[in-house]
């Protein structure tokens, strides 16, 4: 397998409003949305990205697709630096790499009909008009909106949330991209419709060799579609491994908490258990050392002093924790 995406020390900081005190001191606080991540995605691989709300997942997706400029680090797509893309090469990149936005409601032009919205990538790449309708109907069938004629001439506000979410997915797929970033693509779908979409995602991977990054807090999606899963916490990747390992033997305390908190469709579960307590982490002034330490039940002295590196805990499975990574522990 060859690398399609390779990022090193990728960083995105957003400026934030300053208090008077900060202004007087000449401080420029930033939101460290993505704070130095390394990431490789092989051609044909489906990778899951999970993590706490606000940890920077959407920002990573936008960086990979050059929808926002990085504050630092390097990023290659198919061997070429993404920062150097412009003109024709950028246009080609835009055709090959597609994004499914997290919020379907503000990612479709409200004045467009559904037919026009889904046609967008085809129009941009000059697919002849005669071919378009067939391609659109095919994409709509893939996302289980097979009764396309029912929606074709409607506007986004006339669709339900889950219908619109599938329209956005159809638009991303209609141009047959080679790389897809899908940000919470099934968050509004009920289980039965979602099952169909997850089956589709697996088919895209197995039959068409699509390379994809699926951003989701839905571990069902990740378990079912992605062979590898990354876990983010506060701008950093804290765990990276085969999905089955990450879910059944999570190495990082944050991942452990995440997996324990998944609500299950049974009524015998406790209604109150919550493994990680405390407020959410703060991306403006993250704690020193390990960023989880003020919420981690296992934190010890070293966690405040040293940033844990992402090190192997088992073959192909890495975690950034002083406790669970033997290599980290040995360095102590």
């Amino acid at each position: 397998m060859a690398e399609l995406i390779a990022a090193a020390n990728l960083t995105k900081h957003y400026p934030t409003s300053r208090t008077t005190r900060q202004m007087l001191r000449g401080e420029r606080p930033v939101v460290r949305a993505v704070d130095g991540i390394d990431l490789v995605i092989q051609r044909g691989e489906s990778v899951g990205l999970v993590g706490e709300s606000g940890s920077g997942k959407t920002t990573v997706g936008r960086l990979l697709l050059k929808l926002t400029e990085a504050s630092g680090g390097t990023l290659n797509f198919d061997g070429a630096a993404v920062s150097g893309l412009s003109g024709d090469s950028l246009r080609r990149f835009r055709q090959q790499a597609q994004l499914v936005f997290q919020n379907p409601f503000d990612s479709v032009n409200p004045r467009f009909t559904i037919r026009r919205a889904v046609a967008e990538p085809l129009i941009n790449t000059g697919v002849p008009r005669a071919e378009r309708d067939g391609r659109i109907a095919e994409a709509m069938r893939l996302v289980h909106l097979g009764d396309f004629h029912r929606y074709a001439d409607k506007h986004p506000s006339e669709l339900s949330g889950g219908q619109l979410q599938r329209v956005v997915l159809a638009r991303a797929l209609v141009g047959r991209p080679s790389f897809l970033v899908a940000d919470e693509p099934v968050s509004m779908l009920d289980v039965s419709v979602r099952a169909g979409i997850l089956n589709l995602m697996r088919e895209l991977r197995d039959r068409l060799g699509l390379t994809a990054l699926y951003i989701s807090h839905d571990l069902t999606l990740v378990r079912y579609v992605c062979e590898r899963t990354l876990v983010m916490y506060l701008g950093r990747i804290v765990e990276d491994g085969p999905t089955s390992e990450v879910i059944s033997r999570p190495a990082h305390p944050y991942t452990q908490a995440l997996i324990k908190a998944v609500p299950r469709p049974r009524t015998d579960q406790s209604r109150e258990d919550l493994p990680i307590s405390g407020g959410l982490a703060n991306a403006v002034s993250p704690p020193s050392g390990c960023r989880l330490r003020d919420r981690c039940p296992y934190a010890f002295a070293r966690c405040a002093q040293e940033v844990p590196a992402l090190l192997e805990v088992a073959p192909g499975h890495r975690a950034a924790c002083h406790l669970t990574s033997p290599a980290n522990a040995a360095a102590a």
Partner: protein, 332 residues
């Protein structure tokens, strides 16, 4: 007519015979439901079955072109089905809190979070600006937004999906409503934050007797928080029961299909296809008679094309299907 349970007469919300149509299409076809003080009533069902349309209809917020009719719409003992728009507007955001599926219906992109939150308190509660800001910060803190002071100065597009959703939740709760109508309020939240948010709602229910009508496709969330559940299909409630009764003995074939489609951890192997219910929610023309599930139901008989009266599996478990309450035991 829908499958519904007897109601006590002092419910916070009482809906009887609610219908909504868009042009010739009937989206909601006569539903009955009630939410008691301190109760969470969950509305579940396939994408496009009419959940959001029902919620918008209850709040008097259907878009132009939609038609609503309702036999009874009771809120805290008052009939609100015929209130003027001005008096409804006074209830909304005050005694009735709302969280919309489309975040941009709740949040104006042109104003900061702070000015939108303080505006609500100034309008409904007449609070001075600084008092209002104080309360906004406290509420953001309660829903797990860190650095709430900083967030007040941000615009909606500067927030991650989950942060935006928490801001909407905070805004809906600002005036300590009697009733909260929440349409998929946790789709953008990771499971740990989701658990925290659901716990906050439970606290408010205990403290204030808050009644919650919760639309969600996540049956894990339903099992965790609902007291009662209504399952919608093609604009009707086809099953309504206490949560325990529903999960113990789901009876309508659609409900059974919905629960079967949930992948059980450990049971789905890679390579397995996830179960989905074949077919799509049909388009219902005016004057449609019979069970709307019949073209997807494995048990359909000619009689299913005629009017199907509701039946009771137990006093707290109603459903609408021709089959006997325990039919599924024979097929298990």
């Amino acid at each position: 007519m829908s499958a519904t349970l007897k109601r006590s007469t002092n419910a916070t919300l009482e809906v009887e015979g609610l219908r909504v149509s868009f042009g010739g299409m009937e989206a909601v076809r006569g539903i009955d439901l009630s939410v008691e003080r301190g109760e969470t009533h969950c509305l579940v069902g396939e994408s496009g079955c009419g959940k959001s349309a029902s919620a918008l209809a209850i709040m008097g917020l259907l878009p132009g072109g939609a038609r609503r009719s309702v036999r009874r719409l009771g809120f805290a003992g008052d009939e609100i089905g015929k209130l003027s728009e001005r008096r409804m507007a006074r209830l909304r955001g005050d005694r009735i809190g709302m969280i919309f599926q489309d975040p941009m219906t709740s949040l104006n992109p042109a104003y900061t979070i702070g000015s939108q939150m303080t505006e609500v308190l100034r309008r409904h509660r007449g609070l001075a600006r600084d008092k209002a800001a104080e309360r906004a910060v406290a509420m953001l803190d309660r829903v797990g937004v860190t650095a709430p002071g900083m967030r007040l100065g941000q615009f909606p597009h500067q927030l991650s999906g989950g942060l935006r959703q928490r801001v909407m939740i905070a805004m809906a709760l600002l005036c300590e409503p009697t009733l909260l109508i929440a349409d998929e309020p946790t789709t953008a939240l990771d499971v740990t934050v989701q658990a925290q948010t659901l716990r906050l709602l439970a606290e408010l229910q205990r403290e204030l007797g808050l009644a919650v009508l919760l639309i969600t496709h996540d049956l894990g969330v339903v099992a965790r928080v609902a007291h009662r559940v209504s399952v919608m299909y093609a604009g009707e409630i086809v099953e309504q029961a206490t949560t325990e009764a529903l999960f113990a003995a789901p009876t309508h074939p659609y409900t059974r299909g919905l629960l079967d489609a949930i992948p059980v951890p450990g049971k789905v192997r890679r390579g397995d296809k996830l179960g989905s219910i074949p077919g799509i929610v049909p388009r219902i023309p005016a004057g449609f008679v019979g069970c709307a599930f019949r073209d997807r139901c494995a048990f359909a008989e000619p009689v299913c094309a005629s009017n199907i009266p509701p039946q009771f599996a137990s006093p707290d478990h109603a459903y609408r299907c021709r089959m006997a309450p325990d039919w599924w035991r024979a097929t298990a």
